[in-house]
Symmetry: C2
Subunit: 318 residues, 2 copies
């Protein structure tokens, strides 16, 4: 699948950091930056730009805040054409803390929100765009969105200074025909305005890579992936699979294979992600992963089948 | 996806046994049979019927031979509507060793072959059908088949007493559009004769489940899966995901979740299967998994990226 418009964004550090409060060592973050740069990937997201007013720097790693000095240290001296991205969550950042683009190494600000918060996202997008950044909006938990709300939101987003708007299957609940439908809905509103459709998949049902491909087939041009699929709970679309699928000669697989062997196989022994039954159960029931994470952490003591029964019972209505 | 014609075949023991020479304990095989029976799955494949002339009973477990006394012991006293299947490989079984159906607990004989051996498969199918069994043919390594050969084979198979003919993506190399194409090719020859299309996927690119679904969407009605995706190298389509996707009320997920927790999580600590980079590399290059298995066993000493480079070099032509 060679389509020059396709942009790949690696969010290894940002999404992987949700497992460990972003407590990665600086040299690990730099190694990821080096590998992703060498692979020719278009963007790398090095974390969140969260405000220290809301999150303690004692508890969270530097990638939670992505201050300029941290980012500059990560990238210093590395040959790279990969643009830097950071994610901003509605209500977790003070817009006035975001520097002007001319004073920052960041190129892309990605605003994450739920459908209900699209108005707030638009306000933040405008602030970021005014400061000179590229911007996207990532609509999370899309498998719970009601279509009239989503369509209203997309029609508003179509009027914004955006590179892309993402389908984010936070719960890993969607199948290919739902992905096809959503890409087409997004494209209807966005493509006429020159805004691309993006896709970010979770792997609860081992469909992260498959659904990313299906989105590409239907015209999505911005895709998220992470090295070895790292990411909260079931993880994400693996970057190595995506690069192997895309035939664009600018992408190199070798640097990603090397860093998987050197850094990610050992890391996987220390922190947990990937296909696991509690998260699979949340995926098939279209539920937030929090209860699965609690079960795996040992905070809940239930067998898999009890967990499955309880989650279904919790969903029952009077 | 509720379609009453859909039949699910669990091949946990047969394909999983390729990792460990079928050296499963009897009580493990029985536990799998109990769980699969309780889940309402249509068929369970308990191994191969190989001849002891070709394989040593000292080296291989009982599921390699599936003699009647072994099978009877496994199923004795278990309440079940699940039919028994065994696989027979061309040239590894003596047809005269196969008892008459009336003297056997087996319902289904699955003949595995490559495209080039379809004539031999047909001869074996006829022997098995004459003895009273249901039969299928599983065409392995389908991602290497040449279309005229495959079409000739399918046209011959259409004249045989078969329940189904399977697409077997042995190398885990196919994407959805290739699956769609193959299902339609198979169906063109087989459906008019009342023979179903089957699908058996490997998970090298994390597409085992996704491709199984895609085959279902295009009309395949026989699908293979294994508990927790167990199977040689990258493993197979996970049964738990398939049952959750199929909305047929006859299927129960709970017994599969229970046995995963009790037997398969501990087993995975002892023997290796699932998404692993060497096997992923074989998948993206459409190659037999043997070199990946050698790498993982430590018989080859190469880094992932060296392995990738070497495999590509080996494929180069003069």
């Amino acid at each position: 699948m060679y389509r020059p418009e396709i942009k790949v964004l690696d969010c290894t550090i940002r999404d992987g950091g949700l497992i460990n409060e972003h407590l990665f060592e600086d040299k690990f973050v730099r190694a990821v930056y080096e590998a992703v740069s060498a692979s020719g990937v278009d963007y790398i997201e090095l974390g969140y730009r969260a405000s220290k007013k809301y999150f303690s720097a004692d508890k969270f790693g530097k990638a939670k805040f992505c201050e300029e000095d941290f980012l500059r240290k990560v990238i210093d001296g590395v040959e790279s054409n990969t643009k830097l991205s950071v994610m901003v969550d509605i209500g977790r950042v003070e817009p006035e803390d975001i520097p002007l683009k001319k004073d920052s190494v960041v190129s892309l600000m990605r605003v994450a929100c739920y459908v209900k918060d699209i108005d707030k996202a638009i306000a933040l997008v405008k602030r970021c765009a005014d400061k000179g950044y590229e911007t996207t909006v990532n609509i999370m938990a899309i498998s719970t969105a009601l279509m009239p709300d989503l369509e209203e939101g997309l029609s508003q987003l179509a009027e914004c200074p955006l590179k892309a708007v993402y389908i984010v299957d936070s719960y890993g609940a969607l199948f290919s025909e739902q992905i096809h439908f959503l890409v087409q809905q997004y494209a209807k509103y966005l493509k006429p305005k020159g805004i691309e459709v993006g896709i970010h998949c979770h792997n609860n049902q081992q469909l992260g890579f498959a659904n990313t491909i299906e989105a590409i087939r239907k015209g999505a041009n911005f895709m998220d992936a992470t090295i070895y699929g790292i990411g909260r709970a079931a993880g994400n679309c693996p970057l190595e699979l995506l690069l192997a699928f895309l035939k664009n000669p600018k992408f190199k697989l070798d640097p990603i294979l090397d860093i998987i062997e050197k850094e990610f196989i050992p890391l996987r022994q220390k922190i947990e992600w990937g296909y696991m039954i509690p998260d699979m159960i949340c995926g098939i029931l279209n539920q937030h992963p929090r209860s699965a994470i609690a079960l795996r952490s040992g905070k809940e003591k239930r067998s898999y089948s009890e967990f499955y029964r309880n989650l279904r019972n919790d969903m029952e209505l009077a």
